[in-house]
């Protein structure tokens, strides 16, 4: 047990240190302004300070830290992507995630569970093999498993051939993990603040000043500030915020919903995803099943939850796990996913000088929190795009150099 807990337990008058800090006044100018206090913005702030010694940084968050998608996602972490550029990128993130509790001195409850993407059709088996082969080539642990393997590895799974879409096999990715999503945001926020980064909640960016093609300041609901460089990391609001800087994006903002059950004793270890049935499920350390599916059928700027989502999700889930029919649902909610045409993020420079973007995280960006934070910090600090980010440049949509992730991602978390 940690020292902190002992201190706390033994001394009734123990006064904890304030870890999460909301800075008071906005200064008139910062070297770096980060718009968006989600995991990505906070991680970037942390790495700017830690790796590059840049601490005159303000994170501007219109609501509360981590209250966007970072606080709404189902926390699946994996690196079994389809394209080499995707695999390299997410694998770096996974490695950072593994060491993150110690790095931040804050337990993010990283829990390696193994990740199965079920295949119900021949075509899905082929795609699984494709992913497995690319993964293996790049040193990432993935393999195709078949029905008898599944019967052994996930005995709870309904492998009947009498169902509408029988399971034929799966892509098995042993490093697949879940973590406590909120803790990631808080950990980065707390440690960034310790190094001098200012965190401003309830601070909404309402305008962006661009002079001669260079960003010079941002308007907020609390006044204007001048800035050196700006990083936009606002997930579901990407198009609206970048429009303030005159930048158009290949993004649609679509709600993505999820739900949890009431807690039960541990029964399901791995993360199970079925693209054909649009469902995924894992069991958290608290004992709830955390479940989700595909994005809502149409875009909107709203995070209300819908009944259709629950009905569809459960219909499909019970095909995989019929014995769950008696489980009660605890809560459902939604976030806003930035969907790009190629199911890949948009990172790096923009047509506006000093204005950097981290967007297009769709349904898959939680797992990228570490790497995008670290590498975007590098990009801002050095003004050079690291190789690992190059394939994800905004310009690819002008030059028709899309990333080929779409094939693998019917439910791409």
């Amino acid at each position: 047990m940690a020292f902190g807990l002992l201190k706390y337990g033994l001394n009734p008058r123990f006064q904890p240190k304030q870890f999460l800090r909301d800075s008071k006044d906005l200064k008139s100018s910062y070297d770096v302004v980060i718009i968006g206090g989600g995991g990505h913005g906070l991680a970037a702030a942390y790495y700017l300070a830690r790796d590059w010694g840049i601490t005159n940084v303000a994170v501007l968050e219109k609501g509360w830290l981590g209250g966007g998608n970072t606080g709404r996602n189902t926390a699946i972490i994996r690196s079994n992507y389809l394209t080499p550029e995707g695999v390299d990128f997410y694998d770096e993130s996974l490695k950072l995630f593994k060491g993150l509790s110690r790095e931040l001195d804050y337990n993010i409850l990283y829990s390696e569970r193994g990740h199965f993407t079920l295949a119900h059709t021949d075509a899905a088996i082929r795609t699984s093999r494709w992913r497995a082969e690319v993964n293996k080539h790049l040193g990432v642990n993935s393999e195709v498993v078949y029905r008898d393997d599944l019967a052994r590895m996930v005995p709870l799974l309904n492998l009947s051939e009498e169902v509408r879409y029988p399971v034929l096999g799966a892509l098995y990715h042993p490093p697949g993990a879940i973590a406590r999503h909120d803790a990631v945001a808080w950990g980065y926020a707390g440690r960034a603040a310790e190094m001098g980064v200012e965190l401003h909640q309830n601070t909404e960016v309402t305008g962006i000043e661009v002079e001669d093609g260079t960003v010079v300041g941002v308007e907020t609901n609390r006044g204007r500030i001048s800035c050196g460089r700006v990083l936009q990391a606002v997930a579901g609001r990407s198009s609206e915020v970048s429009r303030l800087a005159g930048i158009d994006l290949p993004i649609r903002s679509v709600p993505l919903q999820a739900c949890v059950s009431t807690p039960v004793k541990p029964i399901l270890d791995p993360i199970i995803v079925s693209g054909s049935l649009h469902v995924y499920i894992s069991q958290s350390d608290r004992g709830e099943f955390v479940m989700g599916g595909s994005t809502d059928p149409y875009p909107r700027y709203q995070t209300s939850s819908s009944l259709d989502f629950m009905e569809g999700l459960m219909g499909h889930l019970l095909e995989l796990f019929p014995f769950m029919s008696e489980m009660p649902v605890l809560r459902q909610w939604a976030g806003l996913a930035d969907m790009t045409p190629d199911f890949s993020p948009v990172m790096g420079k923009t047509p506006v000088n000093n204005y950097y973007i981290d967007a297009g995280w769709g349904t898959w960006g939680f797992k990228a929190t570490c790497v995008s934070g670290k590498r975007m910090a590098e990009t801002l600090a050095t003004e050079k795009t690291p190789n690992i980010l190059k394939p994800f440049a905004l310009d690819r949509f002008r030059t028709f150099d899309l990333v080929g992730e779409k094939g693998a991602a019917s439910v791409g978390h």
Partner: protein
């Protein structure tokens, strides 16, 4: 569940419909640059506010246009596409019919004033 007023079938649950994207005039590919075309293909308006978009009533495969507030998720009005698309559209090569083509496209753009202008803004 939301109710959508289908101009053909009346009010129905949203589940009967599929979304078809913003109403944007398909530009004549011969009259715009490659960059403009790339914008047309990939860039999304994704506006928070009132937009015009395509919806299809699946049981009847009927396409119509809706004005929707994407923040409140409220549909303000639905109507048949012929209100906007009144006449035949052609995309001929400019050398064939440059003049007449130009005016045709513009006409469509005018009727539908909330649309992105073909080419220029993208």
């Amino acid at each position: 569940m939301k109710i959508i007023e289908c101009p053909l079938n009346g009010p129905r649950n949203a589940q009967e419909f599929v979304f078809g994207g913003d109403v944007i005039n398909h530009p004549n590919p011969h009259l715009i640059s490659d960059d403009q075309w790339a914008n047309y293909v990939f860039i999304e308006e994704n506006r928070a506010g009132v937009v015009q978009e395509w919806w299809c009533h699946v049981p009847t495969a009927y396409w119509f246009i809706a004005e929707r507030d994407t923040v409140k998720d409220e549909i303000l009005r639905t109507f048949d596409p012929s209100e906007i698309y009144k006449e035949r559209i052609d995309y001929n090569r400019p050398e064939v019919e440059a003049q007449s083509q130009d005016t045709k496209n513009n006409k469509v753009g005018e009727v539908n004033s909330t649309n992105k202008e073909t080419g220029s803004s993208i």
